[in-house]
């Protein structure tokens, strides 16, 4: 299964509370008027300039083993390395909002429109997560329609750049996924262009396989430990 996904803007409407939080704005019940105006303008620009798209492509465990080995730069032991081997199904994914929105953010900063540029960046970062969620929903639907799920099946996304999976892993991932179909490319430093893009693997299997402790050697360098929240969210 390989699918190109085109999303509509209304399906990826970013969550206002998350955006305000990322801007350090905590003001219940309503943020100040100026900030609301920036938010409205950003949402408007986001709607006009984003071209949200994604690709998902199923991959076998043995094929993924090759993708995951990447350029040989991963940490020795990583959560993904343990999880994918116990999975029932895997799919690679990538998602993007297109070049226009990143160009606009850069332009706003150049024009000294820092507040709007920064707000739009938060909106877009939240928006790209929504595109990835939609890609995940497609995979989930595909698996359940083809009778490949059980009540305990849970899907989680894992990406190069996190938890010991080196960012250079995006090279092999893209050799398999062919993201050029939706105009995503990799720079020599293994970064995706357009900037507002994400990539990774979706791992489906019994929820227990996604559990891991955050005591890998590299965990001490991680400031977020967002893995804890993610694991908690697996109900």
């Amino acid at each position: 299964m390989r699918e190109i996904i085109h999303c509509s803007i209304k399906d990826i409407k970013p969550d206002v509370d998350i955006i305000l939080k990322s801007q350090g704005v905590f003001t219940p019940p309503e943020p100040p008027e100026k900030i609301n105006a920036l938010l409205d303008m950003s949402m408007d620009l986001f709607g006009k300039l984003s071209i949200p798209m994604g690709i998902i492509s199923e991959i076998s465990i043995s094929e993924f083993e090759v993708v995951y080995s990447g350029e040989g730069q991963n940490e020795k032991n990583t959560p993904v390395n343990e999880i994918f081997r116990r999975a029932d199904n895997l799919a690679l994914f990538t998602a993007t909002l297109g070049e226009g929105i990143s160009r606009e953010i850069n332009e706003l900063f150049k024009l000294n429109e820092f507040a709007l540029g920064c707000m739009l960046d938060s909106v877009a970062s939240e928006g790209i997560e929504k595109v990835a969620e939609i890609a995940q929903n497609h995979f989930s639907e595909y698996l359940s329609k083809s009778g490949q799920t059980t009540p305990s099946t849970r899907i989680m996304r894992y990406s190069p750049g996190y938890c010991g999976w080196h960012i250079s892993g995006q090279k092999k991932l893209f050799e398999f996924l062919h993201p050029e179909d939706i105009a995503i490319s990799l720079t020599d430093s293994f970064l995706m262009q357009p900037l507002k893009s994400v990539s990774g693997v979706m791992i489906a299997g019994p929820k227990e396989i996604h559990h891991f402790e955050d005591n890998f050697p590299f965990c001490s360098k991680c400031s977020g430990h967002t893995c804890r929240e993610r694991i908690k969210s697996l109900r």
Partner: protein, 212 residues
């Protein structure tokens, strides 16, 4: 209210048009440009920084104020250059090679400019050679590096090693920052300073440039 106070108060409120208007007025009234800069624009930005640290205003307020400051600064800059009034120092900043996260770095750059530094922003995915060569060419006092990926933060060490190799570490100081970076990591790789956030980056860069 005197003109310089008008500049700093309007700047605080993010009123860029008023800041520009009062800056023009101050220039017309032959107020020394250095006073307009220090007691109007930088003073206003300084207050904004303090209010932000005290959680009395939010990040978007700071950024609106920064825009207002720049509107006055754009008017004043040609005069400062003409009169040979130097900035308090040049800082070359960028996100380290292999990393694209640039919002934190942008905020640091905005606040440094707000404090009166000249900032040369090299963007993201910047190689160690580019940092060092540009800093040397521009006669910058400080290199500021940002990293958000744990896999690429080691690249900061390469910049510091390169400065040492080329005998430039006395001349060009370094400051690092970004979510995975810490004071301890800065010490480990031999960086001269660590900035926890944009405001602390400004304090540290001021200190680094005073030390020289």
């Amino acid at each position: 209210m005197d003109i310089l106070k008008q500049i700093s108060e309007n700047l605080r409120g993010g009123n860029d048009k008023k800041v520009l208007e009062f800056t023009k007025l101050a220039i017309e009234q032959k107020i020394p440009p250095k006073d307009i800069l220090d007691d109007g624009l930088i003073a206003g930005m300084d207050t904004v920084g303090k209010l932000f640290k005290a959680h009395e205003i939010f990040l978007p307020d700071v950024l609106l104020a920064a825009k207002a400051m720049y509107s006055g600064m754009d008017e004043l800059k040609p005069i400062l250059i003409r009169e040979g009034i130097p900035t308090i120092g040049k800082v070359v900043i960028g996100t380290i090679q292999g990393d694209l996260h640039d919002i934190g770095k942008n905020l640091v750059g905005i606040m440094l400019k707000g404090a009166g530094f000249e900032v040369i922003d090299l963007g993201n995915d910047v190689s160690p050679e580019k940092f060092v060569e540009r800093a040397k060419k521009e006669n910058a006092k400080v290199i500021g590096m940002s990293a958000l990926l744990t896999t690429t933060m080691q690249g900061m060490r390469k910049v510091i090693d390169l400065l040492n190799e080329r005998g430039l570490s006395g001349e060009i100081k370094t400051i690092i920052g970004g979510a995975p970076v810490s004071e301890e990591f800065a010490r480990e790789i031999g960086a001269d300073a660590y900035g926890y956030d944009a405001a602390s980056a400004v304090d540290r860069v001021k200190k680094l440039t005073r030390e020289k």
